[in-house]
Amino acid sequence: MNSTHYDACPECDLLLRYARPKIGEKAHCPRCGFLLSRPHNQSIKRTFALSIAGLIMFFPANLLPMVGLKVLGNVNSGILMSGVIALFNEGMVAVAVVVFLASILFPLVHIGLSLLISGHLYFNRPNRYLISWMRWRHHLDEWVMLEVYLLSIIVACVKLMSLAPLSFGLGLYAFVALIIITTMLTAGVDNALFWQRIDQLNKGNNH
């Protein structure tokens, strides 16, 4: 197939000659300005390392208390899951499910898939599921909403400040670290390179 010499802009469908920019440079579509590619140095190794770090950080961020509220000697402290349970107990099942997916399950699956993909590529192991993993991760991207959740924590704290004294737990710091890791993780993935390597691996396996 000689179509590999060409590329099309995903947002305006302009036919472009395929060009891979140098590390640190960006390629934009000349017609609509879409960011076509932005290769990173050692994207596979970097993704592999960051997804391990993210997976480790996921547990303290989810298990340690994040914010506590002290009223009349009682301290109520919250983790991600307890917010979901609170909504569930109030009968807000649909909202509870949405919060659970966007703040707990999807981030975990996203990191897990990144680890599986980059791990296989890093150790040169072909796997027929690599393609499905790439597709799932691609579709999951925008439903991981950890940074939105962080903004909600800030707003909630400002609202509660006047009500009662607040305490910040280790879970909150772990959560901020998790957000930094996942942001770097998504920004550092070089999809063109990943697909190219998957192609090579799976073709090598067939012969």
Binding site: A8, E11, D13, L15, R31, I154, V155
Partner: protein, 196 residues
């Protein structure tokens, strides 16, 4: 574009030969444009406009204190923040829960109208509008996450924050507008373009 289809999932460019319907690399279905893009976007848009009304009329959270409940709509919560001297945070919530959803509904409607009536105007500017809409959508979940945090923390028997009926409607609005933006194909803005 002549003779090629770009796979939506893996970005691979495929030469069209005898009705090839799946991508040779990732096996997903090939479409020159998102299938039924305008119909699907319109359907999601109408759904979210319809739900936008209860989301704003009914209380999103109820602050109950010793048995008496004080219901708060989305707008009410923002006014409370600003009245309490917390203007910057009030503005953040105003942007995320009122400006973003309503601008999104208007923006998606405009995109649909432009494609449908083939308005001849700068396609690049419209693509920028599409990108902004696609980017900001998720930030409206702010209110929903905040509700889950508050419902969890403020629960001391006699003093409680309870989620109101608008919460489900608002969450649905956010998700439906995200689906609407996802189904809209920006390449339609460039089709039927006479002058660039």
């Amino acid at each position: 574009m002549q003779g090629f289809i770009r796979c939506d999932d893996c970005a691979c460019l495929v030469k069209i030969v005898d009705q090839l319907s799946t991508c040779p690399r990732c096996d997903s279905h090939l479409h020159a444009r998102h299938p039924h893009s305008l119909q699907r976007t319109t359907a999601f848009l109408f759904g979210s406009i319809f739900l936008y009304i209860p989301a704003n009329i009914f209380p999103i959270m109820i602050f109950s204190q010793f048995g008496s409940g004080e219901p708060n709509t989305i707008a009410g919560g923002i006014i409370e923040l600003i009245d309490g001297g917390m203007l910057p945070i009030g503005l953040v919530v105003l942007v995320a829960s009122i400006l973003v959803p309503s601008c999104k509904l208007i923006g998606i409607s405009l995109l649909l109208l432009r494609v449908h009536f083939r308005w001849q105007s700068n396609a690049r500017r419209w693509t920028v509008l599409y990108r902004i809409i696609a980017f900001v959508g998720r930030w409206s979940m702010l209110d929903i996450f905040m509700l889950s945090i508050l419902a969890n923390l403020v629960d001391f028997g006699s003093i409680q924050i309870i989620a109101g009926p608008a919460a489900t409607a608002f969450a649905a609005v956010v998700i439906l507008t995200m689906f609407a933006a996802k189904n809209f194909d920006p390449r339609l803005l460039w089709d039927n373009q006479q002058n660039l």
